[in-house]
Symmetry: C2
DNA sequence: ATGCCTTTGTGAATACGCGCACAAAGTCGA
DNA sequence: TCGACTTTGTGCGCGTATTCACAAAGGCAT
């Protein structure tokens, strides 16, 4: 389930606060989901709760980590060291969750050789070497759109079976390879869509809170046809 | 629908290649979805196809852009100018889709005053001013986890009704505010989960291609219990 | 003009996810 | 020891999304 990482994060926060046991209600609230859903999710990986008490935080952390495969280290390579690649290389959330960045690669000679977050950027020509040497199993593609499919084909040919794609293209891969896509522009477009509806979209004003109940302080934003 | 931006991107690519009309089958393939689903999605915003021919690319681009609210400009502020904030500020996919970054804000005095992608970083104290002056309606939160909820409360109080959150926390907002979350660590954890299953997870080896059919060149990666 | 061929738009069947609500199970106080 | 209370685990119904499959609609060649 895609929600397990969220639970895990909430559990880590509880752990840091010294909480030993937690009820499904509390944990669900912290994770922003329904408590029944959370219980059902947890029950799918075995019954680790005690009725009348709740779940033991530490034990649950271990079980979820195990289920997610975080009890082992995963070796990651980042291809494309532009602004985004740099940000990813320096992102602390990786190392703390068992993800080790073993290689940074780029095609730009200006960038190759630079040291970023303790790693030297290597040339994309060495892609297969880097993957082989370090046993990379997850590739993060942060290249321009045009280069993404080519890079993807190469990492797959080199044995990578999971790809995290930040380039704005739909990657084609063999069926044994998993791809997840993060697209900043699409996220904004979805927000714009809802924003437009709130401001009284094509269907006429629908469903936004009136100024009477505890709505926004300012009426609404101006909306005028952009042509 | 959350798929419209994907269709739009595929259509833009077709437009660049000079394609005038496209069938649901082709477009669905380019967008990575089922063709019936695509037709149903498009039919929900009116019937813009011609039977026997397909859809006119240019017209469809306009209709989807309109539906998504991209015929107007949206004003965005980015709060938190670390590695990620910097990457976002320089991301070309924003401007080209009608999103204008009007403000960069940070709490760090070292960063305030720097010019990044043509914008001067301002101090977080001026948050409300920046939002008001430019009519910001979308806030991008790229702060550390600890600061995110506080920043979120402030932008909401200042009138922002859409938030794109990169901080690894679940934000609590009034019900008229939309939040979308992008969490790099969670994406990797989901990949690790599938990776583990492919490598013969807790359930025993299940469903991965054998070495007989067109599987990966190398057998599989080593997997050993990490404790 | 006419009939064949392509492609859309959609009814119907299916699968899926979600959440309510409750029984089973366990704790804790008396 | 016993009963009341808390919390888990899950059966069930419901609404939504997805897919199949086909009839309606339009183009195009003859």
């Amino acid at each position: 389930m895609a929600r397990l990482p969220v639970y895990l994060r909430a559990l880590h926060a509880l752990q840091d606060r010294g909480v030993a046991t937690v009820s499904s209600e509390e944990l669900a609230s912290a994770a922003g989901v329904n408590s029944a859903k959370l219980r059902k999710d947890l029950s799918h990986l075995g019954s680790y709760g005690t009725r009348g008490v709740g779940y033991e935080v530490e034990y649950l952390v271990y079980q979820i980590s195990r289920e997610l495969g975080l009890t082992q280290d995963w070796v990651v390579a980042i291809i494309g060291v532009g602004n985004l690649g740099r940000a990813l290389a320096g992102y602390g959330g990786f190392a703390s969750r068992g993800f080790r960045v073993a290689g940074l690669l780029d095609a730009d000679e200006q960038i190759v050789g630079q040291e970023i977050s303790g790693l030297t950027v290597r040339h994309i020509d060495r892609l297969e070497d880097v993957i082989g040497e370090h046993g990379v199993s997850i590739a993060v593609i942060a290249t321009p759109a045009g280069a993404a499919q080519g890079v993807c084909d190469r990492v797959v040919a080199a044995g990578v079976t999971s790809v995290l794609n930040f380039a704005p293209v739909v990657l084609t891969v063999p069926e044994w390879v998993d791809v997840r896509k993060v697209d900043l522009s699409i996220e904004l477009q979805i927000l714009a869509f809802h924003e437009q509806r709130k401001a009284g979209g094509p269907d006429g004003a629908g469903g936004r809170p009136s100024a009477l109940d505890s709505g926004p302080p300012e009426p609404v934003h101006y909306v005028e046809a952009a042509e």
